[in-house]
Symmetry: C2
Subunit: 164 residues, 2 copies
DNA sequence: TTGTGGATGTTATAATATAACTGATGGCAC
DNA sequence: GTGCCATCAGTTATATTATAACATCCACAA
């Protein structure tokens, strides 16, 4: 269980205490994997930690570059396998419109999420948006469609960037 | 202005008269481009017609293969340029979660759309879903987020495929 | 004529993702 | 212990998706 030691250079440190975000995410991941009897191996944890270096969505090959100091042998498959695992466990989300990945900020409970993606600062805000999901469900019902998975992604300017 | 002559082999002919879909789409595209003073060139129209061969989302390289009988010199850039044009004119939509493209069934009026994507028959149904958009807008407002573009895509089973 | 802008041709390469096979580890039945 | 199995990771190769950069062509206008 190796965790990155240094304050990561990629973090866009905002007003909030981001280290707390990282610590929480790793702790929850650990708990959850134990409960489920699946293995949060060193590589998987490192990838998760790298994704959590900021609230930006991260590309697979960016992760590959960043993990190399820790895993010299890393290849694309190394990353994609870890991503598959983390996605399956609901610990990260795939941002379809960016071909990128972001940490799940409500890990532990299954949920559908709305992703608000800032064009300026690139941070991704995840919202449960229960109201949206409910209205969506009504829309499916009318269409006779049974939903299995959803990608609800909105690009624009976040509050901070709108105010600049 | 060459239009495909043969009934296309890719079309998943349903109960509806799909030739009507195609004819309408091409006619509207033609009108719209004229109004806007942009050129719906032969290549662009052929790509649009190929996309409309069915209600499935089509991949760029699939289009490249299919256009070669008509445009022997076609290369990736040929297709991507046509797609860029058609996207800019709102004549097609990009399906982010599939890296694929589908004809817009409400061409002419700007709109945001919900895409219902069937895992079984692969057809994509486009819905205006005004109610969903309204609730979404309320969600942004609360988050202080100003939206520029949206990708709202749901995978599942369409009515027909659910009933099988 | 001579440029100008838009469209396309052409070549090369970047970026994203998966397949397929190999080897290593550790638990567990026998 | 031995053999077996499942899981994970290493490795090589390749498939798929997308863009960059520069050349050419042509219609049209100054
Ligand atoms: Zn944070
Ligand atoms: Zn922002
Ligand atoms: Zn049709
Ligand atoms: Zn279907």
């Amino acid at each position: 269980m190796t965790i990155l030691a240094e304050p990561p250079p990629h973090t866009d440190t905002l007003a909030h205490n981001h280290q707390q975000c990282v610590d929480d995410a790793l702790k929850i991941a650990d708990q959850l994997c134990t409960e489920r009897g699946v293995q949060l191996t060193a590589i998987r944890q490192q990838v998760l930690a790298l994704i959590w270096e900021s609230h930006k969505a991260v590309k697979a090959y960016e992760l590959l570059d960043r993990i190399k100091p820790l895993q010299a042998a890393a290849k694309p498959a190394t990353i994609y396998r870890a991503l598959d695992f983390l996605l399956a466990q609901g610990l990260i989300h795939r941002v379809e419109s960016l071909n990128a990945f972001v940490g799940c900020s409500c890990s532990g409970h299954q949920h559908e999420q709305l992703l608000l993606i800032c064009k300026q600062c690139e941070q991704v805000e995840e919202r449960m948006a229960a109201g949206v999901m409910q209205v969506l469900a009504e829309e499916f019902r009318q269409a006779g469609f049974s939903a299995h998975s959803k990608a609800i992604e909105v690009h624009g300017l976040c509050r901070r960037c709108s105010q600049l």
